[in-house]
Symmetry: C2
């Protein structure tokens, strides 16, 4: 018999082959475990508590006490026999917030990608004996060959005509027939907008008739198990085949689609769930690598100079071609991108921000796993990728985490240490906004110098990974809301173990954050320089990305992430890529705007730009070598 | 163990389930047996000689002597145990002649459905970093979204660009990308035109670069086993599902495609065979029912008033959608039809004839399994279906057969009986032209009266099926070219049996031929009447169809099939549907012509037209009740 693995607290059991890693077993069991290093045992995100027969090895991410208590890394632990595994909260993939929907639709009219048209066909007679299709085309004003008709839909046509007694609803994307339904059926029309991020995927189910968001779900990109950033993924694909990565992102999306449809009552008042077959349109925004992987295109060109993607402007595909579990003839459209490192997600940001419609010059910063910066107005646009790193999304920081329950999102030191967590639960780590607050407050209170070195303080100590600031002593944390009995694994000494996990920020963490903020700031400066203007010329600064719900502007300026401008010039967009995708799906005007952004945008390659490296060096301090730029901090 | 069936003379063995019919077993064994009545034991075409354990029943098509000798009908004989089956020549499906290619291309320029274009892409640089697809589209002059790109081809693009060092050949059907090949590959471009007849299918493999026909093959439509005419097939589909008929015609075509590609050396001088993946275009002409079955569309509307097909003007499909074993992205286009009973085959006839370009009025008669008549010129066109029956294709006539080896194609009685067979081999039956000759000669020599009754004569006798004229006494036939030993079944008394098979024409056969010719003539008259003209106004009469290579015009006029016009006004087109399909494939002008024929053609429904029945009655004599119409016969 194959070994059995039971995962708690979900209580899922799975049978696996001997030698399967616990991480793989968890995937098989439908249990989501955090992982960022592609199973190399490096990132330490997949810590689990094991009782049973596994073969594994120690890791610097697990202290001797933890090891003693049964802590192991799931990715490097191979199943030898039956075992029980507890996945602590910190290693679970938590339901995330979608910080989106900040942009009101503001659409003058609804012109969705796929429209449903009621058509009444002439009843045929011996004299008027055109075929069903010809009558349909004439009624809709199409000439011969003007409409693309999938064979499978043509096969349905005679029955639809018969059932609806010559009255039917035809769903069209421009010149493509997407679905046919008899008139006497309920003819609803749904679409899905998806932001495929390197780390997270967010999806909105939208009524294409009204523009109403029926439901929204988010999930981690399942590709995470094969690398944290796009380059790691491309390398994985080159070694193991890109097909695997395609399957993972398609799985992620299909899983989300079924959640979006199943968990919601659509068309309020009708009490009917949305059937996946009623989804007629998908609009995807994502960085160029994610789009390539989703489409199954070889992304290798993205990795090597001159960084040429297969396409920045993918044509329309169908859900069937892509393996999405909705109406197989549904249109799948992608928000166009501009370059290998400025993708459709950034163009979607721009569309959501509205900066491409303004006379005044705007600066848009998307702080994602990568970081992109766009400068311009309705006439011109410059864009670049800052290669900022994922520090503000919880990467490269020991106790960093994404904005989810338990993330410390606000920190203040002015009147003694205070912090708050998302969901008001026991703190598990720091999300982007919390990190910004903490560093700014440490810097402003003198605990941190401008080079990022921690000074002597009662909370600064020499830790395992060098000097570190202890934000949360585990002994101080109350246990409320954390009932071990409820985990179904009271035999496991988790409580004791948890007490050992202080939440700290090391000097190396701080250096990573400084690198990230410096590269974003330097990237913005290079664009301004290219345009021959300065920060003060900016009418507006847009901030997009999932690094927290509430960023304290003063703190973000204090560390030199954002320029020191009057605070009213800043706009937080949240997940603007998702909003942009939705607008693209709902409005022809917005689709044209995206295409015009694609056309007017000039990509500035920073990797070979000496200006960038000079400005990056100057910005690698708190807040900057040139304090004149930050009068409010001075 | 399952029973084994061995088929001779091919020597094929197959294992089948008990109860399988010999006809089905033959199909499984890849042995082609004639059959026209859908396995009902009626047509008597599937006579085989059986040695072994089968369960069967007598049939009027088998004489007591034949029964004694082992003759059985394959369709009603069920396998009980091992057996050996001899398929006599008369029951084999013989290679047929394609009487086509009479129409010289005469094309001013080649504008094939799919063109190959050489494209040299700009080499990308850090500054000029458009994606591969964008560079391809720009180079070819397409805007975003203007070209339909199958995902599978987009996936190949980066490799093609790499292998060809930015030079490649793109194969396009209008705005559809059909294939991509690196420039340094051999980039050949082939197409296939197919005439799907109810009875026979003919196919030409064409070099789309030169218009040269590389090979042509023909075969029986495998749907024959489920009915001889379109109505029988539709009924079969309604009872057993249309899917089966679709599979059979797709099988037929795939089989022919592999023969067309495999048996020929393409691109003379290069000595390379055509690879099926190099076939980028398919053009199909066929009657409306055949087109529906090929596409998998429900043909039921064709059967019931008001006779509405799903489409007369099918859009473009891909070979992949249709299950054709060529390049899956190859374009499949269909010559448009006009009505349920005037299909794309007739429009293709018209295109091949050129009558739609002339000022003078032409009459086109297609004598197929059905019979269609078209009248008109470049300004207007009338068309109808004569529901003529398959007498001239070998159906409904005891010793009728299609134009293949052994068919008596010429008969003369003027100076004693003389006949000649196709292939100069032992006569097996009569094809259309032989039948016309025989009836005309019998009539002109007084053996047949104008009502179709046989008079006393030394060759007229009372046969099993009534009075009959003996054209060939089996005892007169020499055995040359018919070596029983070579059949591998010398134990079987075939020789003796064959001697019993005289070739005769019964009065019932004659009545069927008269019905067929009368309905064609009457149909033509109704069209003339509708247009307010007479036969003498015709500039030209075109005759299309596979009823023989050489029709004797005087004989055809003598029986009243064709009007008594000066002989130089007649043009024989042969398989004009196939030629029309080829022209459609090679020339944009011809595609536009076909569409304009589709538009300008008025369909005249005869089944409810009293004029037709009156004229049919008058024409149901030899040559006609009104002899004034046939001065040359008088």
């Amino acid at each position: 018999m194959s070994p059995q693995v039971i995962f708690h607290p979900k209580g899922r059991t799975v049978e696996v082959l001997e030698g399967t890693s616990l991480l793989e077993a968890a995937i098989l069991a439908g249990v989501e475990i955090n992982s960022a290093c592609a199973g190399k045992g490096v990132c330490g995100r997949c810590r689990v508590v094991v009782d049973g027969d596994v073969e594994t090895r120690p890791s610097p991410n697990i202290t001797p006490e933890e090891w003693e208590s049964g802590y192991r890394l799931a990715c490097i632990s191979k199943v030898k026999g039956d075992c029980t595994v507890f996945v602590p909260e910190e290693s679970q993939l938590n339901p995330m917030q979608i910080v989106g929907g900040k942009v009101a639709n503001g659409l003058k009219e609804m012109t969705p990608v796929v429209r449903g048209s009621f058509v009444q066909l002439r009843a045929p007679t011996l004299q008027d004996n055109d075929g069903d299709l010809e009558r349909l085309l004439k009624q809709m004003g199409f000439g011969p060959g003007d409409l693309e008709v999938p064979l499978a839909l043509l096969r349905q046509l005679p029955n639809v005509v018969k059932e609806g007694e010559c009255r039917l609803t035809a769903f069209l994307d421009d010149r493509h027939l997407v679905d046919l339904r008899p008139w006497n059926c309920v003819s609803r029309n749904f679409g899905v907008s998806i932001d495929i991020g390197t780390t997270t995927v967010a999806l909105q189910l939208v009524d294409l008739g009204t523009g109403e968001v029926i439901s929204q779900v988010s999930d981690y990109n399942r590709q995470l198990m094969h690398g944290e950033d796009v380059l790691a993924r491309i390398m994985y694909g080159e070694d193991h085949g890109h097909e695997r990565l395609r399957d993972l992102i398609v799985d992620t999306i299909n899983h989300m689609l079924s959640r979006a449809c199943a968990t919601n009552e659509a068309c309020v008042g009708k009490g009917k769930k949305v059937c996946a077959k009623e989804v007629n349109a998908v609009v995807v925004s994502g960085n160029t690598t994610m789009v390539h992987m989703f489409l199954g295109l070889d992304p290798s060109g993205i990795r090597y100079e001159p960084y040429i993607p297969v396409t920045n402007l993918p044509p329309r595909f169908t859900a069937g071609e892509l393996g999405l579990n909705i109406n197989p003839h549904a249109s799948v459209r992608l928000v166009p991108g501009r370059a290998s490192y400025v993708g459709g997600d950034v163009v979607a940001d721009v569309v959501a921000s509205g900066m491409a419609l303004n006379d005044g010059i705007g600066l848009l910063i998307d702080v994602g796993t990568n970081g992109e910066v766009v400068l311009g107005n309705k006439d011109w646009m410059l864009a670049c990728s800052a290669s900022a790193g994922p520090a503000f999304e919880g990467g490269e920081v020991c106790h960093g985490m994404r904005a989810g329950d338990g993330a410390i999102e606000k920190v203040s030191l002015r009147n003694g240490l205070r912090y708050s967590t998302i969901g008001n639960v026991r703190p598990k780590g720091l999300c982007g906004s919390g990190l910004i607050d903490l560093l700014a407050q440490l810097f402003l209170t003198g605990v941190l110098d401008k080079k990022g070195h921690l000074q002597e303080s009662d909370r600064v100590r020499q830790g395992e990974f060098g000097r570190e600031y202890v934000l949360v002593h585990s002994k101080d944390v109350e246990k409320d809301g954390y009932d071990l009995k409820a985990t179904g694994m009271s035999c496991c000494p988790t409580e004791k173990v948890e007490r050992h996990r202080d939440i700290t920020v090391t000097e190396e963490d701080i250096a990573n954050v400084i690198r990230t903020k410096a590269s974003i700031y330097a990237a913005a400066e290079v664009l301004l320089d290219t345009a021959g203007i300065t920060f003060t010329d900016l009418e507006r600064v847009y901030i997009a990305g999932g690094f927290g719900r509430h960023i304290d502007l003063d703190n973000a300026v204090a560390i030199g992430l954002l320029p020191d401008l009057p605070r009213e010039r800043f706009t937080f967009l949240g997940n603007a890529s998702l909003d942009g995708a939705k607008l693209f799906m709902l409005s022809k005007e917005k689709r044209e705007e995206a295409l015009s952004v694609h056309r007017s945008m000039t990509y500035v390659e920073l990797s070979t730009d000496q200006r960038f490296f000079d400005r990056f060096s100057s910005a690698s301090f708190l807040p900057h070598t040139d304090l004149d730029r930050f009068p409010s901090v001075r």
